[in-house]
């Protein structure tokens, strides 16, 4: 075990996988010599060679297509979209092509591509450096969708994503690259000393489809992913109500048993995400939970989310779900 921040953990996963598997190639904007604008691929070009990790031309759709072609021809490409907001030029290649090629070809061609992308707010990025577009991928059959939250699960999940024979969209909460975020912009801890900063150095995987029970309680089930896991943890602390906190980790396919068992125990649910409320993945959670646990529910399932507006620059703390908004929601679930 070594203490790592999330950037180091992701770098370690890439490095370990590239050592183990010749078929892995890595590309994206500025990921080569420079090592990525967030430094996730730092040092890897020197180690693994420019033919294995290189800068792609500035065309997300173009290098997604390249990843597709490499994927169906036996490689295992890992591509970086510099900010999740810039994944949309590649949307057609991802949802119409990567997601469907296994099925459309009767299983003859498969596309084991991993798309890594820093997502979410909290860095004063405004409209186009803050979005968290996971829900725009969860609606597409054929894609797996992952959202890490700590150095430890970043490494474990990225390893599994790379090993997965299906295309995986892998979201990294950029606000948590260097430390967890508890909802207070004036408190900027690093990962130092955090238990989830202890990361195995060698091969380490966390299976896709498995949630992480961050903490257990009995009054409410709080479901979150990415940065919101930490904000929710703060909220639970603040309100003093005993909660299960489920870090979903994988959104498609999500961990039915972890969620259903918890809800059957608590009867109360708060789902938290940064993305806008309408048609966010919280909607799927709420819809599915009420289908599966209707008679166990004691209160409406609450969603605490970003607003149905673009992501603002100066006022981002009024946009992102705060510990107090989450705490209020948890409390509301107890009132009934």
């Amino acid at each position: 075990m070594t203490e790592m921040n999330m950037i180091q953990a992701l770098n370690s996963a890439l490095d370990e996988r590239m050592n183990a598997d010749e078929d892995i190639v890595v590309f994206g904007e500025d990921v080569g010599f420079f090592g990525g604008v967030f430094r996730v691929t730092d040092g890897l070009q020197k180690k693994h060679g420019a033919h294995r990790i290189f800068d792609a031309p500035l065309a997300e759709g173009g290098f997604a297509a390249m990843a597709f072609g490499m994927g169906i021809n036996g490689l295992r490409p890992v591509m970086e979209i510099q900010f999740a907001d810039y994944i949309f030029p590649a949307y057609d290649q991802i949802v119409n092509e990567m997601a469907k090629v296994r099925h459309r070809s009767g299983g003859e061609f498969t596309c084991p591509v991993t798309i890594r992308t820093p997502a979410g707010g909290g860095i004063r990025g405004g409209h186009h450096h803050s979005q968290s577009p996971e829900a725009q991928f969860t609606h597409t059959p054929g894609l797996k969708v992952v959202y890490c939250s700590t150095p430890r699960n970043a490494k474990g999940l990225l390893t599994s994503a790379i090993e997965c024979n299906d295309p995986v969209v892998f979201f990294e909460p950029k606000r948590c690259y260097r430390g967890p975020f508890y909802g207070d912009p004036h408190n900027v801890p690093t990962w130092k000393g955090h238990e989830d900063a202890d990361v195995p150095e060698g091969y380490y995987e966390i299976p896709l489809g498995q949630a992480n029970m961050v903490q257990e309680g009995d009054a409410c089930t709080v479901i979150a992913w990415g940065t919101m896991v930490h904000v929710a943890q703060q909220a639970i602390k603040d309100c003093g109500i005993s909660c299960d906190l489920i870090d979903l980790q994988t959104l498609v396919p999500w961990d039915r048993d972890a969620v259903v068992n918890s809800v059957k125990k608590t009867g109360r649910v708060v789902v938290v995400h940064e993305a806008p409320k309408t048609s966010g993945f919280g909607a799927e959670m709420a819809a599915s939970i009420q289908e599966r646990c209707f008679y166990h529910l004691e209160a409406p399932i609450e969603r605490v989310t970003g607003w149905d507006t673009p992501f603002p620059h100066t006022t981002e703390w009024d946009y992102m779900p705060s510990p107090s908004r989450i705490a209020e929601a948890i409390k509301r679930t107890q009132e009934e």
Binding site: H51, A59, G61, E97, H103, S105, F109, P141, G142, G209
Partner: protein, 413 residues
């Protein structure tokens, strides 16, 4: 080129129009290019600027008198030539059969290669067996060259229980990995940029494999076209990028789709050698592709080419072109018919005759009819049986996840 682009209006901006609508007189500028016009540069040393004339002219081998001429003459041996002719004839007979069957509801839909048969066939013949074919719906002919089983092709088109893609895609969306024929996808253009990745993976693995891909004159307006050209320019992978300019994209003539009527030359500024090729000249298409493959042999990477041709039939079985172009437009097309031109050449060479041609046509017709009958034993779209409904749920992922399993159980089939 140099043809004046025809427009409906230049006010307030230009909106192009085809040479003729149904009530007009079709016009095509006569081809002045001759097989002797263009040199054949050494593929192993040729740079992009060296192909300036080839990008702006037209590479031809078969003259109007049906002789093979000029530097690009591949000097094809007789057997290979007749093989190529046979594949083209086979594709045409196949297409005719399928269209007939589509009218009876055995297929939902069909797209012919009429008038463009030379392209995929000559090109696949010019390549190596291990090269990847990344087609649109207008290059099924490659499969004949690689020897795909006819019954299997028809199983797919009629969507029966033996369809290797399990009734999941529309007809003509073939997949055949064994023949290195990559799955056809409906969104136009996507394969063009993906082919870069296919070629890079082959190179990465150190294999002697190329990838050839095509895009239509219409689809070349998509971003994928630019990605492909620029990525080919950047990484120089072993890829052959072909724009099939058949003049039409459904009802949209190329005059409405770009102001630069020459597609070939677009690659020059990207440092990619460019060829403009008579797409209805089997020998020229073969020769140009062989040249591109030789560049790949020499480690030089991509070639960009335009295959100048004409979509002689409707866009698809859903289309009636007489609504938007002159019913006899094809008669005015100066480029001839690829089958007819090669046939005349073979006759002139003394290796073929009208009788042999008719006889072969008959054999092919029977072969295809037999295959068809064999295939529909496995079902067809009108009557089933179809692939079981369970195939909806499989191969979405490598393993069926719980939520899809639940849904499968809900359907109960």
């Amino acid at each position: 080129m140099g043809e004046q682009r025809e427009v409906i209006t230049a006010d307030p901006y230009i909106v192009g129009k085809p040479p003729a609508r149904p009530d007009g007189k079709p016009g095509f500028a006569a081809w002045t290019e001759k097989p002797s016009d263009l040199s054949r540069p050494d593929p192993a040393t040729c740079s992009a600027p060296d192909t300036h004339d080839h990008a702006h002219g037209l590479i031809r081998v078969l003259s109007d008198a049906a002789d093979a001429e000029g530097e690009w003459d591949p000097k094809m041996d007789d057997a290979t030539l007749l093989e190529g002719l046979g594949y083209m004839m086979k594709l045409r007979v196949f297409d005719d059969r399928m269209i007939k069957m589509q009218r009876t509801g055995k297929l939902s839909f069909y797209m012919r290669s009429l008038g463009e048969e030379a392209i995929a066939i000559a090109q696949t013949m010019a390549l190596k067996e291990q090269d990847w074919i990344f087609p649109t719906y207008r290059q099924p002919g490659a499969q004949f060259v690689r020897g795909r089983n006819l019954v299997s092709m028809i199983n797919h088109c009629v969507g029966n229980i033996e369809d290797n893609v399990k009734g999941r895609q529309m007809p003509v969306h073939y997949t055949w990995k064994e023949g290195r024929f990559i799955s056809v996808s409906s969104p136009v253009g996507t394969q063009f940029s993906q082919a870069i990745g296919v070629a890079m993976a082959s190179a990465y693995k150190g294999l002697d494999e190329a990838c050839i891909t095509w895009i239509g004159d219409g689809a070349s307006a998509e971003g994928d076209y630019h990605y492909a050209v620029n990525f080919a320019s950047t990484f120089k992978p072993p890829v052959i990028l072909c724009v099939v300019n058949n003049q039409w994209a459904i009802s949209t003539h190329q005059n409405l789709a770009t102001g630069g009527q020459n597609f070939a030359a677009r690659g020059l500024a990207y440092d990619i050698p460019c060829l403009r090729v008579d797409g209805n000249d089997f020998l020229a298409v073969f020769a140009a592709t062989q040249w591109a493959r030789q560049r790949i042999d020499a480690g030089l990477g991509p070639t960009h080419m335009e295959l100048y041709t004409y979509r002689a039939g409707p866009h698809s079985s859903s289309d009636d072109p007489s609504v938007y172009r002159h019913a006899d437009e094809a008669d005015y097309w100066p480029g001839g018919d690829p089958v007819e031109r090669l046939k005349q050449h073979a006759i002139k060479k003394g290796i073929w005759s009208e009788e042999k041609h008719s006889a072969l046509e008959k054999i092919l017709d029977e072969e295809i009819m037999a295959a068809y009958k064999e295939a529909v034993k496995n079902g067809d779209l009108a009557n089933g049986p179809y692939p079981p409904a369970s195939t909806i749920f499989t191969e979405v992922y490598e393993e069926v996840p719980w939520h899809i399993q639940e849904q499968r159980e809900e359907l109960g089939k």
